[in-house]
Symmetry: none
Subunit: 254 residues, 2 copies
């Protein structure tokens, strides 16, 4: 799954715990979500319906995760052997301390996963985790969300936390950075340039209208890579216009 | 939705485009996902079934997003007026350049959204975006995933990208806001507790007054970390008082 042996071990130390899940479809979707992020261990605390055909259907290619899922009678049982458990929770008044953002919680979990077992814990779709369950976890995390509508689907929350944990575990290489120079051209400006180019290329005989497709795609790729600026579009269009003969005659004697 | 006017405007400049979506349930789940992250504009390019009761059901509390969704006949139409379009794609050989990681793509989109219209573009569940559609977008992004199973659900991908964009737009504070359950204890109240504790610890013989320093410092650290509330100070002082023998005699016969 990941090449470095230590990384493979860290991933293997992560269990995803779903407590009192109501909808089997969410269990399946969660299994798919965690597998896409390279995890494999699912623990279900008192699921309402499991196994269930809806779970299978929503798991898509993650049926193996469902097949090897453990069912536990309590969160305490699900957390046996764990060094650090991070519970996902909405903001609430009765927590002892402020929760962490998901990203910071994932970073803590990743650090511990280098040497010990860790758990990501998710509660019921409607009521979340009970106070007793929250008290069994040593860290709480919250997903930053729209304060007017913060109700993420359970599997979507599993997806986000597993994504953050995958990155925090160091499984993701860095990517190139980008610095914009001038004002970027708008989509319409670029389309105007492409249309202009195509027209002139046909007029000049360079582009065969009966088989135009590859040339324009290639030009689009080139300009997409370049992230055209407004001024560059103007320059290119000016240049194109200048290729027209002043008399209106087309190139190549057409 | 978010307090700063410029931030509200940036959010309003973001459209989420779903092209050729097969399953109406995914459209509904995507609507929910984008709304939880504070976005509201959904554009559907040739959806297979829309409107559809399954979309409504999966949208949960995001029916308003579905109701105001635009339907477009082509991706070109969906992107009219856009300055930067970021397309989600799996890694593929035929792209002009390597795609960005989702996080970096979101950062570019957020920078442009400060002054221009932007789009997040998602393709069909099975086949993704066509080459022609990819060519209409100036940036491509990929979600880091398990190379052995990288098939995220469409709505899960929308959730992740919108989450990254919300963070990139600067809508997320450095730590979640937290409302304490009670009134925090004042400095004097905490000092009262510390003095009480020290006195009782000396009285019990647990603390040696000739070398008292480390114990009290450690206790101070512990309580500082806990951010004590008034009521908690009262509880602790009550507990301390209860350890005194009712006759007023001290422990250990002192």
């Amino acid at each position: 799954m990941d090449s470095k042996p230590s990384l493979v071990e860290s991933f293997a130390r992560v269990r995803i715990v779903l407590s009192h899940t109501s909808h089997p479809g969410n269990i399946g979707a969660a299994a798919r979500a965690l597998k896409t992020m390279g995890f494999s261990r699912l623990v279900l605390v008192n699921p309402k319906c499991f196994p269930d055909p809806q779970a299978e259907a929503m798991a898509s290619g993650a049926g193996d995760v469902l097949a090897s899922a453990q069912v536990a009678g309590s969160l305490a049982e699900a957390l046996e052997g764990v060094t650090l458990a991070l519970a996902l929770t909405a903001r609430r008044r009765d927590l002892a301390t402020a929760p962490l953002w998901a990203r910071d919680g994932a970073a803590e979990l990743a650090a511990v996963a280098a040497h010990g077992e860790v758990a990501l814990v998710f509660g019921n779709e409607t009521s979340g985790l009970s106070n007793e369950e929250l008290a069994l976890c040593s860290r709480w995390a919250t997903i930053p969300a729209n304060p007017e509508y913060s109700s993420l689907n359970l599997a979507a929350a599993v997806q986000l936390l597993c994504y953050e944990l995958r990155i925090a575990l160091g499984a993701v290489s860095s990517a190139p950075t980008f610095t914009a120079a001038g004002t970027p051209a708008t989509h319409d400006e670029i389309e105007g340039l492409m249309a202009h180019l195509e027209k002139e290329a046909v007029a000049s005989g360079f582009l065969d209208p009966d088989n135009p497709r590859r040339l324009m795609l290639r030009l689009r790729r080139l300009f997409a890579r370049a992230t055209l600026e407004k001024e560059e579009v103007n320059i290119l269009r000016g240049l194109l216009a200048s290729f027209r003969q002043p008399t209106g005659k087309q190139h190549r004697g057409k």
